[in-house]
């Protein structure tokens, strides 16, 4: 375990060196958060009865999403790993006395944590200063804060486990960037990035909420604002645990199968 944690730390420390990139990222996050709020505000002012969330809960959702983007997005992937697989350098990785799955999942966690660490505070501070229903407010009850923390950790792990599935699938398909981008666009829709899941039409919404994609950002971000509370929150968290276990298991099995028939060309 020790060695995986130090791998995570290594990636984290390397990641927080890129401050200029983070600065550009933060500016972008302000702009995108602001734009989303502007768009939803129009619909909110238009028709409050059909608005499926509290405006404050939605603003919390948007700002947390912007600040913690690196934790929950499926498309935060490391090109190094794809190159390793397609170029065959994965052979070196296999020589190490470590488990490949653990190694990759921990380094992915390190990368994501470093990015989030640099970006989240400036986003949150400015968002907290915005006027009432459009800024970021503390969770309504200490209970929802605790549940949010638990659910956020699970959501983060879900996102990492999902990106592991993407890496592992590269063993079977080889690169093909187009297919990957195509899938990630669909995931964006199903995870609540394009529009929050409560805004989906009834019928579709109930199905989407059960899919693993809703376990990434949808659950924690809605628990924070109290949009999901009580027994529903418990249900959402249990679902997160289930998908986490399922995706890790699937990832490990697929990786083992891929490695059992892998042929690394010399050179």
């Amino acid at each position: 375990m020790q060695k995986y944690i130090s791998l995570l730390r290594m990636k984290f420390i390397a990641g927080i060196q890129y401050r200029a990139a983070a600065f550009a990222g933060i500016l972008t996050q302000y702009a995108w958060g602001g734009m989303e709020i502007l768009i939803y505000r129009c619909f909110y002012l238009e028709n409050q009865t059909d608005f499926p969330m509290q405006m404050q809960a939605l603003s919390n959702y948007v700002w947390l999403q912007q600040g913690l983007l690196a934790l929950f997005m499926a498309w935060i992937l490391e090109n190094d790993i794809f190159e390793m697989i397609t170029h065959g350098n994965v052979a070196y990785e296999l020589c190490r006395p470590c488990d490949l799955y653990n190694m990759w999942i921990f380094r992915n966690m390190g990368v994501r944590l470093s990015r989030a660490a640099l970006r989240c505070l400036p986003v949150f501070v400015v968002a907290a200063l915005l006027p009432a229903p459009y800024g970021l407010k503390l969770p309504p009850t200490p209970g929802s804060a605790g549940l949010f923390l638990l659910s956020a950790i699970l959501g983060f792990l879900n996102a990492v486990a999902f990106s592991m599935l993407i890496y592992v699938s590269t063993f079977y398909t080889f690169s093909i960037q187009g297919t990957r981008a195509f899938c990630l666009a669909v995931v964006d829709l199903l995870s609540g990035k394009v529009i929050p899941i409560p805004f989906l039409p009834d019928g579709i919404r109930q199905i989407v909420e059960l899919l693993p994609f809703a376990s990434m950002q949808n659950a924690p971000l809605r628990i924070y604002g109290g949009d999901i509370a009580g027994p529903q929150a418990a249900q959402a968290i249990l679902l997160q645990c289930f998908w986490l276990a399922a995706m890790i298991l699937a990832g490990r099995i697929l990786l083992r199968k891929a490695l059992s028939r892998i042929v690394v060309q010399g050179g």
């Binding site: 981008a181 666009a185 805004f199």
Partner: protein, 258 residues
């Protein structure tokens, strides 16, 4: 022009060497804009209208923006990669050739994968034309075409600014994407719905409302002044200061030496 066609032919040929990759990339891009379209549709299933604009009217505005943004991306993408053109010394070579520098940068890259997005914008537009209450006249059709090309000019101008600033920073300034991608994002809806401050910004600073919102007011009969239909010309006027900035940058250009 003949030379540009020749460049185009070379780009098509090189692309056809990797057909599968071309179609997959195109499909992926269309998917991202289709999810955006689905997002709008979901919101309209719930709310039916936003500040009096119907689904069709909003889609008309969005398809114009998507159309012009994709056109600009397709033909003016060379500016986007300008940071690397500068840093690897390719621009020194460009300056030595007896052709216009902007022309050569434009010709370095043509993104045919954007055809998918253009097609989607076109389909959305057809849907609007056949289902909306707008009574179409040749004049109104001409205005839509003007909007598309004015918008393409405007977005190209923004790409040009992006490239011109590279002369001073050598690297691309990524946060400038806020104006291009952000403009496309807010352009999903008529630009006037976001309030006065936003509308003013997009009227006077980055005149995106001139190519989308004001002509849309005329097309949907909210405002009967025909002059609004000519607003998209601002997109072409916008190119003048952008070009000036580029010229200024070229004059200050010091080779990176590699």
């Amino acid at each position: 022009m003949k030379l540009y066609l020749k460049y185009l032919k070379i780009h098509v040929q090189s692309m056809m060497e990797h057909k599968a990759s071309f179609f997959l990339t195109m499909a992926a891009q269309v998917m991202t804009t289709i999810t955006a379209f689905l997002g709008i549709s979901c919101l309209f299933l719930r709310f039916h209208s936003v500040q009096g604009f119907s689904y069709q009217e909003v889609l008309l505005g969005y398809s114009v923006i998507l159309f012009s943004f994709s056109l600009a991306e397709m033909f003016a993408r060379g500016f986007d990669a300008f940071g690397s053109i500068l840093s690897n010394g390719q621009f020194d070579r460009i300056l030595l050739r007896p052709r216009n520098d902007i022309f050569q940068v434009l010709a370095t890259k043509v993104e045919f994968t954007r055809i998918g997005k253009l097609l989607q914008a076109f389909v959305m537009m057809l849907y609007v034309i056949f289902t909306s209450d707008i009574s179409w006249t040749p004049c109104k059709a001409a205005i839509v075409v003007l909007m598309i090309f004015g918008g393409a000019a405007l977005f190209s101008g923004l790409f040009l600014v992006y490239a011109a600033l590279c002369f001073f920073t050598t690297q691309g300034l990524e946060f400038l994407n806020i104006f291009t991608d952000g403009g496309r994002e807010l352009g999903k809806y008529p630009m006037g719905i976001y309030g006065k401050a936003v509308l003013r910004f997009f009227t006077f600073l980055v005149p995106l409302a001139m190519i989308q919102y004001y002509p849309l007011l005329y097309l949907t009969g909210r405002d009967s002044r025909t002059i609004l239909g000519l607003c998209p010309l601002t997109g072409f006027v916008f190119l003048i200061p952008c070009h000036a900035l580029w010229k200024f940058g070229v004059r200050h250009f010091v080779s990176t030496g590699s």
